[in-house]
Structure formats: C-alpha cells, structure tokens
C-alpha cells in the first residue's frame, strides 16, 4: 500500500455511520476502496439501501474529512457489487450488539441460491438473539423498524424491545 493511500485510510478511519455512531463506515463495508488512478486518488463508497437518507450525509462526511486533511480525492459512488451485510466485520457486529441492535445472524451469499418464491417463509424461521440477554426466545414485532435496514423485535424472556439489523 502506498503511503498516500495509507494516509487516506487513516483520515477516514474514524468516520462513523450517521445513524449508528458506534460503527465506522469501513467496518460496515460502506467505505469500500481507496485507489490511485491516472486521474488521482479515488475513494469508493457504496450505498446501503437504495433510498437510505444517510448516504448524502456519509458522502459529505467523507468529503469534509478529505478537505480538512488537505487531500485532493474524488469520491465515487459504486453500486456493484451491491452492498451486503456480509461485509460487516465481526467487530462491527459485536459493537452493534453492545449498542442494543441485534446484528444480522446469517449471511446472504451471492444471492443466486436464494429461492425467490419461498423467501417469505424462510425469513420467519430465523432465530434472532436478544442483544440484552442473549435469548433466542424472541418474536418479530414489525418487519421494518426506524429505518429500512432494521426490523423490530421483542425478547420474550427479558421483555426487551430491540432493533434487528436485517441480512441484506
């Protein structure tokens, strides 16, 4: 890794998700790549959900940090490969849990092997562990929570209502 690229990573390392401030953009897999091209340094970010209102903020945060550090770089938004919760680091998942959000408990794979038709029942069978007491005796309250990426769950043992970061 060149020293310039290392410097860019170091500059952006601390940036966190605007809605979940305990995890960094890098840990979430939103900050994908820093590369040197003939046109200069490029920072690649990838959107989570298509309509996620935090993406504008994330791009602004990245630009502002680069400006502050005096780094001239272009910020590129790249759709493919599509962002997936599989890219979240184990460390990020643990931070989510400690913050009270149950992390995605399964991977999505490439998506090619998931049956579209039988998806409806597959998801309902997922055992989601309560981030407070660890019980998997939990029930879904709503498929969507405060944001599209989360569902609302309730623990039937400790009664804690909690957000679940859905596999995507």
């Amino acid at each position: 890794m060149s020293s310039t690229i290392e410097k860019v990573w170091a500059t952006l390392e601390h940036l966190t998700d605007p809605e979940i401030p305990v995890v960094t953009l890098r840990e979430l897999g939103i900050l994908r790549e820093v590369r040197e091209t003939d046109a200069g340094i490029e920072v690649v970010i990838t959107p989570t959900y298509s309509g996620c209102p935090a993406m504008g903020q994330i791009e602004d945060d990245v630009r502002a940090s680069l400006d502050q550090a005096g780094i001239a770089a272009r910020v590129i938004t790249q759709l493919a490969p599509a962002w997936t919760t599989d890219w979240m680091s184990d460390e990020a998942k643990e931070k989510l849990r400690a913050y009270g959000i149950a992390p995605p408990h399964r991977t999505c794979g490439s998506g090619g092997d998931v049956s579209v038709v039988h998806f409806v029942r597959r998801v309902q069978a997922e055992p989601v562990a309560c981030p407070r007491c660890g019980s998997i005796h939990t029930t879904v309250t709503s498929q969507y929570g405060s944001t599209a990426c989360k569902a609302l769950y309730k623990c039937l043992d400790c009664q804690e209502p909690f957000d679940y970061f859905k596999p995507y």
Binding site: Y49, S50, G51, L79, P81, G111, Y144, Y168
Partner: protein, 261 residues
Amino acid sequence: MSKAPVEYLLHLADNAVVLGQRDAEWCGHGPILEEDLALANVSLDLIGQARLLYQLAAARMGNGATEDALAYFRDDKDFLNYTLVELPNHGALVGYAAADRDYATTIVRNFLYSALMVLVWDALQKSPDSDLAAIAAKSLKEARYHLHHAADWLVKFGDGTEESHARAQAALDHLFRYTEEFWTPSAVEDAAIASGAAVDVRTLRAAWDAIVADTLAEATLKRPEVRGYIPEGKHGRHSEHLSYLLGEMQGLARAHPGATW
C-alpha cells in the same frame, strides 16, 4: 455490450416512483405506528430505486437531462408505469362516494407488484447491461423484504377476522384485473427485449402465479377470475388518478423550478 433502451428504464423508474408516492400517503396516517414506519421505509426504497434508474436514463439521454427533470417535468401521458401502481389506496368508488384509505388495498397492491418485481430484478441482475444489472441486484434485496412484508399482512388479513378477510378479498377482487397488464408487452418492452438487456415478463408468469397461489392459499383468499380488460398505463394511457398524484408530487418543483435548499 447491449444496453436497455431509455424508455424501458423509465418504465421501471415510473413504476417505482408512482408506487413510492402512493405508499408515502400513509406517512402520518398508518393504521398503527409500526406500519406507518414500514410503509415510509418501503417508499424510501422505491424512490431510491427510481432515482438510480432516472439517473441512469438521464446520463444516457444527455442534453442536460436530470433525474429531477424526468420525475417532475414529464406529464402524465409520458409516464410509462402500470395502471396498478397509480390507483388510490382504496377500492372502486361510484358517483360522488368518498372513501378513506383502506390498508387492505395498499397491502394487496404491494403484494401483487413486489411478487412480480422480485422476479424481474432477479432476471435483470444478469442483464448484459451492467449498469441496469447493478441497480437490479440492489433492488432485488429490497423487493424481497417488500414482498415479505406484504405477504405477511395479507395472510394476517385473509386468515384473520371476518371483516379483515372480507376487506382483503374485496381489495383482491378490485385490483387483480390490473395485473393483466403485466403479461402483454408494450412497444417499449418489445424493443427492450429485442435489445437483449431486458426481461420478457411473460416468461415470469408461472413463477408469479406460484407465489400468488402459495400466499393466497395460506391467507384463505380466492384468486379472482379476470378476463377481457387489459389496462394500458405502460403505453402512457392512464386512469385519471395518475394526474392527481403527479399534481401533488410535481407541484412544488414546478412552482419553483431549479430551487435548492
């Protein structure tokens, strides 16, 4: 590398933006708080998908085209969405009758549409048009959750109380005929299929029928018989409802063209 024609991108984008606008009408009016949030989130996904598609269409059109111009400054007859997605959030009215929003109508519509779109996006993520394939791969992930949400409620309604069952069946009886439009390609779709970058929706019919049959059986609802009427929204021939929807959606942008905040 073959690319999908711009009009086909607009057909996909218009479906998403119009349904996103309809679902967003529940914002602040949801039957329960959780559903108010759920529908707002589904709308955000749909509007996000529409933005990606309009951005791609605008980039390919050139001549200063923008996503905003495509969403806010085209008239109703230029929109290429299915009639299904523009219908109000309630059943048919007669004469001067008025109606409140009916959640069963919203859920049935979202179910019928997302059951199609999981199949469409799944096929399009393999399109040789790599820009369209990238949008499809993202949209598929979201459409699966939309289908899951709508199917879940449809089963709750159908297999619920006498009233919830009757209202779900009435919504199904009202809306099902509009799905006939899916299976008859427009000139835009024919051109897109010929380009090799699109999906021929007719090839998805058996899979769509299976999703519908599966969920309706669990919901104890009957699939209505439909024949004869084929809506033509995707040809630009719409119901009156689209004009009112666009009036609301486009009013601000047209009153203050170019405004920023």
